[in-house]
């Protein structure tokens, strides 16, 4: 366990709270600015930003709130390693979804 005092731990929790709040406000602001003023600009940069910021939020919730940062490394690896399968799952199924779309478009042309 960390040797931080009770007061230091409490302070840390509120810092993470503000951090998560600011990141959420930033995400919403970016979404609204794109929707209102930049309708025509491509969405890929905005979507990349959202994914990175969400991953950052997930990191802080798991490491600080769920205390994973302060557990033994073996514990953290045991929990996180199975999620590597999800990387494959996300890539494979999104790719597959794109293929379904191309099939739908193709069948329309052939008809």
């Amino acid at each position: 366990m960390s040797h931080a005092t009770h007061a230091e731990k409490v302070k840390k929790v509120w810092q993470i709270c503000y951090l998560l709040g600011f990141v959420t406000i930033f995400e919403i602001a970016a979404a609204l600015i794109h929707w209102k003023f930049m309708h025509e600009s491509p969405r890929w940069w905005l979507n990349s930003l959202f994914i990175i910021l969400s991953a950052a939020k997930a990191y802080y919730i798991m490491s600080e709130f769920m205390h994973l940062k302060y557990e033994l490394k073996a514990m953290a690896v045991t929990i996180l390693a199975p999620f590597l399968f999800l990387v494959w799952g996300i890539i494979a199924f999104l790719w597959e979804g794109g293929y379904w779309l191309s099939l739908k478009e193709l069948s329309k042309i052939l008809k």
Binding site: M1, H6, K9, V10, V13, W14, I16, C17, L20, G21, T24, I25, E27, I28, A31, L32, W35, N47, F50, I51, S54, K57, A58, I61, M62, E64, F65, M66, E71, L72, K73, A74, M75, T78, I79, P82, F83, L86, G89, I90, F93, L94, E96, G97, G98, W100, L101, K104
Partner: protein
């Protein structure tokens, strides 16, 4: 901590003690959460695959994927229209209730029964506000004509996936509120205090943060992307 674990590594793996220096209950809660992560991941990945099989949003085209800025722009009890405003409120409620849960765990470490009761009550309140807000959002969307098989904003499967995934998440929040209320009553009765530790609050805390963690990704998939 690392050094201590290394010197006692052999002894730890001989059995009779947790190799992770985490109690049995917390390890099991973590393993449950891993399995639950895969359930949610299965749902969100199917959302992604079905979404990719639809063309991007085109105004008035009911085969295209709906634009979240159009679907989620109502604020309950007002006639105002501002995209994503209400869901921002819901997200803040959940983040805040996660923070109050950590505070309850910390007061538990200090064996401060009154502190645990105070922060747990705020956590329960946050959960109730979140589920209530979700009910308002659902009823609004149903009144707008969004159902499991039809959707005025675009592709019908959007509605089905929305109600399935946010419903499953809302079910988790509701279960969490029930468990937290039970823990609140047990704390009030002094059960954990007599036991000498508030580990039950920690285990429920892990579950509650997990619900918050899943919301980060539900929020990402449905409202942001």
């Amino acid at each position: 901590m690392e050094a201590v674990a290394k010197t006692n590594a052999k002894e730890l793996w001989d059995g009779g003690d947790s190799p992770f220096r985490v109690s049995y209950g917390k390890v099991m809660m973590w393993y449950f959460l891993i399995s639950d992560t895969f359930t949610f991941a299965g749902l969100l990945i199917s959302y992604g695959a079905i979404r990719m099989s639809h063309p991007a949003h085109v105004e008035g085209n009911l085969h295209s994927w709906p634009d979240p800025n159009e679907v989620f722009n109502a604020i309950p009890f007002t006639h105002a229209h501002l995209p994503l405003a209400f869901v921002t409120f819901m997200t803040f409620t959940l983040i805040f209730s996660s923070v109050t849960m950590v505070r309850a765990v910390q007061e538990g470490h200090e064996m401060n029964r009154k502190g645990v009761l105070f922060w747990m009550s705020l956590t329960i309140l946050g959960g109730l506000i979140f589920v209530g807000s979700q009910a308002l959002e659902w009823s609004h969307l149903i009144h707008e004509g969004q159902g499991l098989t039809h959707n005025p904003f675009g592709a019908a499967s959007f509605g089905a996936l929305f109600f399935l995934i946010t419903g499953f998440h809302g079910f988790h929040v509701s279960v969490g509120v029930c468990l937290n209320t039970w823990a609140f009553i047990q704390t009030y009765r002094g059960v954990f205090h007599r036991r000498g530790h508030y580990e039950m609050i920690e285990k429920l805390g892990l579950y509650w943060h997990f619900v918050d963690l899943v919301w980060v990704f539900v929020f990402l998939a449905f409202y942001l992307l």
